[in-house]
């Protein structure tokens, strides 16, 4: 057992002047589950990319099974028994499971023979590791959890002894994540070595044997999971103490600010994404919408903010209706006090090619404060941007810098600063901290609670259950386009998890 599957010795990797990995030493024992945690940009992905042959280390040595190894391409890695399950699946959507598994590993010129061979091998793997998937199912028809299993099967089919999983639970329900962990434990029992990259500390505690923490390109610590705590790991990641759960007082809910009634939204293919949804958001409270990604939350947000056409139902803002024909002017809604922090800040909330100050007026470009007739008032815009940079501690503090050059957390702060500083009555926030590092999460959460305490109505949609539980005064759970339950902030994770998986809903329907 106590033999190293992978040893990394003195790995260094620079991109230009930036050292993404510096002098990394890491030993991963055979037959263990080893977690690697760190903030965005800490160098986790770079390190794993070096191990999997996407990048070459500038210096240092990799040993696999005690032997020095030269990994120049992913094929070298596969030959050495290293498999990778990517955060974004590398599957061909309209191929069957079987076809995806053999893709790039076909043994014959004619497909028929390879498929027959693969089928029996696949069945053996499925039996052995409890990874049941119908080999003939088409990928796009499978739920995300099963698609991930196909990715794992792909790696195993190629003879992987060491399996690297990059943020594997980001798209899974708690139940699916639990199932994944059972599979991983089973793989471990069969002697496989698993490397788990994640930023969710709870998962690290739940499943790993050892855990390494990266910060700013260096490996700051390796701990036995049993002997560490979530607080210690968080502190190691950020380099200072962090509050994992923001403190907040009682909500003083006032009158209804936003009333959604029987709202139904269909996507472009005519599939019902939001199904007869009704709820209210009061002044001075945060309502959180929990749910696995893709259950209609995005469409709900877009409909409320006037970007997406709704089939039926109504949304009232301060007692007056919002135009739901899809022809609503988001600019007019902003004037009426509805601010929207969209889920996808890269394509919707920001124009990454713009300078920071240009983004700080996006959506408010009609505001007279920023204009002199038809011309932009450049001085006013930049001064305004500088004020926000100071107030929201946006770094680097340069309003002329291209937005793409800010980190995820700072980009989110740019959007939040813009929307919050307009002093809206209702704030809608999609995925407030997606891709945002731990330090900035704390800041953003405090800001959202400050908004609430000023008597604003805040609607938060997030796939991070922890975030929903920590922020919300009321929690609504969405599943398959419907609100399937409402809970208080003290609802347990298990309870919400069941709702998110639609369990209770299905039982009620029967």
């Amino acid at each position: 057992m106590a033999q190293a599957a992978i040893e990394l010795i003195g790995i260094d990797k620079s991109f230009g002047a930036v050292r993404a990995n510096r002098d990394i030493n890491l030993e991963i024992m055979r037959g263990t589950i080893h977690g690697i945690v760190g903030e965005n940009g800490a160098g986790k992905s770079t390190l794993m990319s070096i191990l999997y042959g996407f990048y070459q280390a500038d210096s240092g040595e990799i040993r696999v099974g005690g032997q020095p190894a030269s990994i120049k391409t992913p094929n070298d890695a596969i030959a050495l028994g290293i498999g990778m399950v990517h955060q974004h699946f590398m599957l061909v959507d309209n191929f069957s499971v079987l076809e995806n598994v053999i893709l790039g590993a076909e043994s014959d010129a004619l497909l028929k023979k390879s498929i027959a061979k693969a089928r029996s091998e696949l069945e053996r793997l499925e039996r052995e590791y409890g990874l049941e998937v119908d080999p003939d199912a088409i990928i796009e028809e499978l739920p995300v959890g099963l698609q991930q299993r196909v990715e794992i099967l792909k790696a195993l089919y190629r003879g992987a002894e060491i399996l690297i999983l990059d943020e594997p639970t980001g798209v899974l329900t708690p139940a699916e994540a639990d199932h994944l962990f059972r599979i991983l434990r089973q793989l471990k029992e069969q002697g496989k070595t698993i490397v788990l990259i994640t930023h969710k500390l709870r998962e690290i505690m739940a499943i790993t044997d050892t855990v390494s923490v990266m910060r700013q390109g260096t490996m700051v610590a390796t701990r036995e999971t049993k002997k560490t705590t979530v607080e210690e790991l968080a502190e190691l990641m950020v380099g200072r103490r962090v509050l994992l759960r923001v403190e907040k007082g009682e909500a003083k809910a006032g009158g209804v600010k936003l009333a959604v009634k029987n709202l139904t939204v269909k996507d472009s293919r005519g599939v019902t994404m939001v199904d007869d949804v009704s709820f209210d958001v009061h002044a001075g409270e945060i309502v959180g919408i929990a749910g696995v990604a893709g259950n209609g939350q995005s469409e709900l947000l877009e409909a409320i903010s006037g970007i997406r056409h709704a089939v039926s139902g109504s949304v009232m803002l301060d007692g007056k209706p919002i135009d739901l024909t899809g022809a609503a002017d988001p600019g007019e809604l902003r004037e009426r006090g509805l601010a929207h922090v969209p889920e996808d800040r890269h394509h919707v909330g920001l124009v990454l090619a713009f300078e920071e100050n240009e983004n700080s007026i996006l959506g408010y470009q009609d505001d007279e404060r920023y204009l002199k007739g038809p011309f932009l008032d450049i001085d006013a815009i930049r001064n305004d941007a500088r004020d926000k940079i100071v107030k929201y501690d946006i770094r680097p503090a340069d309003c002329r810098l291209k937005t793409a050059n800010f980190s995820g957390g700072n980009q989110q702060k740019i959007v939040l600063a813009r929307e919050m500083e307009q002093d809206p009555g209702v704030l809608i926030v999609g995925q407030p901290t997606r891709g945002v590092d731990v330090g900035a999460i704390e800041f953003i959460h405090k800001r959202l609670i400050a908004m609430r305490d000023q008597g604003k109505a805040v609607l938060v949609v997030s796939v991070e259950l922890d975030e929903i539980r920590s922020l919300s005064d009321r929690i609504l759970v969405m599943f398959a386009g419907r609100i399937v339950g409402e809970r208080g902030p003290d609802a347990t994770e298990g309870e919400l998890g069941l709702l998110m998986a639609g369990v209770e809903h299905r039982e009620a329907a029967e």
């Binding site: 930036v18 965005n40 986790k44 990319s49 903010s305």
Partner: protein
């Protein structure tokens, strides 16, 4: 896997990289010259001397450049709004109709400085209207602007043949062109400006529409970077979703951007008609609308870059004519090859040398490249 790129100083981005691209284009063109059995170095000397050697050459270079500034600006304005207006050729051509009518109507009664503004408006209006239909189809129907503007180039060509042959041509004439404009529609030459520097010019068509081109370059800069409309156009150009989120009407912005683009393309027709030939003839645009695409790409969609790229292409046109004259083995088509190579390296392969230049800069001055510029795929 995104490869992290370090940031380059602006001068390297806007000057050094285009120059490297240009240099490589000329090197490859040099091999083609060797293939046809000529000395590439001598060819380069002839080209540059033909364009800048004498006052005559300079005047012609600037005359060609003027047309390309208009067409380059036209492409750039649309491109900032995320639209590829490939119809500058047709928009410029059809603008000749407006110019022809205005000049024929007023050249006997008004002085040039009154005819000119009316002709500018007519040219801009015709170009804008010719862009309006594709813009409307794109905005309302989703018909791809590249396809529709190409189609409109052909339609413009046919319309112009009909208009010139059927209506604008003097009754007795066999040539498909208008009568020669009288003095009231002839733009004054600017050759004296070059002669101030001591050069001698026999006759060259360098005229006041060049000043209009420079004014338009400035106005385009103001429009794109200093007005709300330009801000909205750029937002839509970078991200239609962000524009929707920001409350910018897709239909309105597409139509306005295309009409401005078409108006600029239309103004390109002033230079060869009122400035040079003093008539509107068949095929008078002769590809300048397409050159505008290369000019805009090479100029990185910035008016200053466009003016410089337009002068470069003016040089290629003028020097190329000299070259074809001096070296019979090199035909006009060679010049088209060189232009094609410039477009290839400056446009399509624009990023080919960028990583190397960035690596070089990074190794020279580690401080100049920002840490935050590197956002690889988040872990």
């Amino acid at each position: 896997m995104s490869t992290p790129y370090a940031k380059l100083p602006a001068w390297a981005d806007y000057v050094l990289i285009p120059l490297i691209n240009l240099f490589v284009a000329f090197v490859v063109a040099g091999f083609v010259v060797i293939l046809v059995g000529e000395n590439p170095l001598r060819a380069a000397v002839v080209l540059v001397e033909g364009a800048f050697g004498r006052g005559q050459g300079i005047a012609f270079t600037l005359f060609y450049a003027t047309t390309f500034i208009f067409s380059g600006l036209s492409v750039a304005v649309a491109a900032h709004c995320g639209l590829f207006n490939i119809g500058g050729e047709g928009q410029g051509y059809i603008a000749g109709l407006g110019i022809g009518i205005v000049c024929l109507a007023f050249d006997s009664v008004l002085p040039w400085w009154l005819t000119f503004p009316i002709a500018i408006i007519a040219a801009a209006a015709m170009g804008a209207l010719w862009a309006l239909i594709p813009a409307y189809l794109q905005a309302k129907r989703g018909s791809h602007i590249v396809i529709t503007t190409i189609m409109f180039n052909f339609i413009a060509a046919s319309v112009m043949v009909r208009a010139l042959v059927g209506y604008l041509k003097p009754p007795a004439s066999m040539a498909p062109q208008t009568r020669t404009f009288l003095e009231g529609a002839q733009l004054p030459k600017l050759n004296w400006v070059i002669e101030l520097f001591g050069a001698k010019i026999r006759s060259a068509p360098f005229n006041v529409s060049s000043l209009l081109a420079l004014a338009m370059a400035f106005l385009v800069w103001v429009l794109i970077w200093r007005t709300k409309l330009g801000y909205e156009m750029r937002t839509y150009g970078h991200s239609p979703k962000a524009a929707r989120y920001a409350g910018i009407s897709e239909i309105r912005i597409i139509i306005i951007a295309m009409m401005i683009s078409g108006a600029l393309a239309g103004m390109m027709a002033l230079n060869p008609t009122m400035g040079d030939q003093h008539n509107v003839a068949l095929e008078f645009v002769s590809g300048a609308g397409f050159v505008g695409i290369a000019v805009a790409l090479m100029g990185r969609l910035h008016p200053v870059g466009i003016v410089m790229a337009a002068i470069l292409f003016g040089m290629l046109y003028q020097g190329g004519a000299e070259l074809a004259f001096e070296m019979p083995a090199i035909s006009r088509d060679m010049i088209v090859i060189i232009q094609g190579l410039v477009i290839l390296f400056a446009g399509a392969l624009e990023h080919m040398f960028r990583p190397y230049v960035q690596a070089l800069f990074a190794s020279l001055s580690p401080k100049s490249v920002g840490m935050e510029a590197v956002k690889g795929k988040g872990a």
